[in-house]
Symmetry: C2
Subunit: 311 residues, 2 copies
């Protein structure tokens, strides 16, 4: 089986750290990951530069990333205006976050659910005006799907309801995000099954998991058990300091790829090459902590990647 790793470090990682990575370093990072075999990278977010100066050059990053063959260039869009900019820049995939906790939605996007769904409708209308070869894939990203630091428990019925709403409006798919690091494996299985039962098998292919409480890869295992084939992760767990309040704690791409390849699940990613990409991050962001166990422990003696294992 083939698993798609969607690298989100250049967006989710960089938006969570104080340092601003120069455009040239971003390009080098993205190019190196693509050369290691990563086929999808979320390269930025079309938010106002005054809100996230770290991502102010997203349009240029998208334009550069599009020149890399066989790379799906993804971007986050907070609203219709962001989607317009993403389309203009030529993103292959756009994700509109919708926080299932309405309190969190109001606090982070300053929008109610109804307002975000209106943005989704406007984006669908825009995309339908585009020729097929210029129309990005449109994902609805259900954030705080596994719990909220303000509301606490987030009802599964609410997640399903909003997933259905996004699919009815015309999203191509939805994703579930463990924004707060609250998810556990039983919950991952349950929620994936519920959303798929309501929206169809193909409506949900991806999970965005965090490692805030150390359960990131266990939650990936749970996702695999119920047929999930796309996982977001961040090189070096960038932006994922688990020791700071409000930490995002993305799962670490290196550990994720090691686990999948060791299990015989092909990611198409060359692990030694991927591990070497950390040097670009270390050089460009000398003050930021990088995470991951596999980079420090090294690969097991006689390690066999999935492609060789199967070949």
């Amino acid at each position: 089986m083939k698993i798609l790793i969607s690298e989100v470090g250049p967006r989710d990682g960089l938006q969570s750290v104080a340092s601003i990575m120069p455009l040239e370093a971003k390009k080098a990072w993205i190019a190196a990951e693509a050369a290691a075999g990563v086929t999808e990278i979320e390269v930025g977010s079309f938010v106002p530069a005054k809100l996230l100066p770290q991502l102010a050059d997203t349009a240029e990053v998208v334009a550069y990333a599009r020149t890399i063959p066989n790379l799906t260039v993804a971007a986050l869009v907070p609203n219709f205006k962001g989607a317009e900019a993403a389309v203009a820049a030529g993103a292959h995939k756009i994700t509109l976050p919708l926080s299932v906790s309405e309190t969190h939605s109001l606090k982070n996007l300053r929008r109610t659910h109804a307002q975000v769904l209106d943005e989704a409708r406007a984006i669908v209308a825009l995309l339908r005006t585009l020729p097929a070869d210029r129309r990005p894939k449109f994902e609805g990203g259900l954030s705080t799907a596994f719990g909220c630091t303000i509301e606490g428990e987030v009802p599964a019925t609410k997640v399903v309801e909003l997933a259905e709403a996004l699919m009815t409006i015309g999203c191509d798919e939805v994703g579930l995000s463990d924004t707060t690091g609250y998810a556990n494996p039983a919950q991952v299985k349950d929620l994936v099954r519920r959303v798929r039962a309501a929206c169809g098998e193909h409506a949900l292919s991806g999970l965005h998991l965090h490692n805030t409480r150390g359960l990131g890869l266990a939650n990936v295992m749970a996702g695999l058990e119920v047929g999930i084939t796309t996982f977001d992760s961040s090189l070096g767990g960038l932006g994922g300091c688990p020791f700071a309040p409000g930490a995002s704690g993305n799962i670490v791409t290196e550990d994720l790829v090691f686990m999948l390849e060791a299990m015989g699940l092909e990611t198409g990613i060359d692990l030694p090459k991927l591990l070497a990409v950390r040097d670009i991050l270390k050089a460009a962001l000398p003050r930021e902590a990088l995470y991951g166990f596999t980079p420090d422990a090294g690969l097991p003696l006689g390690f066999v990647p999935a492609s060789v294992h199967r070949g």
Copy 2:
């Protein structure tokens, strides 16, 4: 479902750190974990004091731990002589390690497989002379079961063969240890199924997993999927520095208990009380690093433990 957490910090943790914990601190640690609801603790190892001065007081620790109600007091024994000492001290459970990699066995225990199996036979003969109420449970611990840092891949057939040999000799059960942190979830499932197919469902109940490459809890998930109900772990991941060569990297009891309880699997352990036990380790071993994500991130808002969830 009820899951048994076997705390191995006082043995596996302490034998891996340079500091020597005073007897009184060991007693306080064991008492506090038992008070938090931990029902099995491996409190030491009956090895010569010159080899592991950290564990020289194991007989006294066992004697103390036996005074705690409802606590299974476990100890490691490297050979017949160690088993004699463990029986004299009154351990409830003894584990004889047998390294599936014979190279590793020769290097660590200076014994071939045949020699370790001879020790096992002598131990079984000893135990059979004891009255039932003084006879400890005897586990064969298959170390390097998932790979070896010297031999590389360890054949599953060899693991099964040695598991059968130990059960035939008269062990009550066998356990599988990921001594090197090489295990992956697919391998965990496969090996558990193979050993159970050869030795019977009840021959294998426990896994001793490490988090060396970050896959510890994912491997626990795999174990749960195939019916494993006992997991070893170490408070604060003591002895588990993932950044040092040869690190053991025990999975962290706090994160393991959080995962299981969040999934609705009862451990009988009170998480806030367990988290407070870290203070004893910090005070007694000020120079040793403690690990774990849940202790730093804290419990999710509105977290409901398994017992309440089910009640």
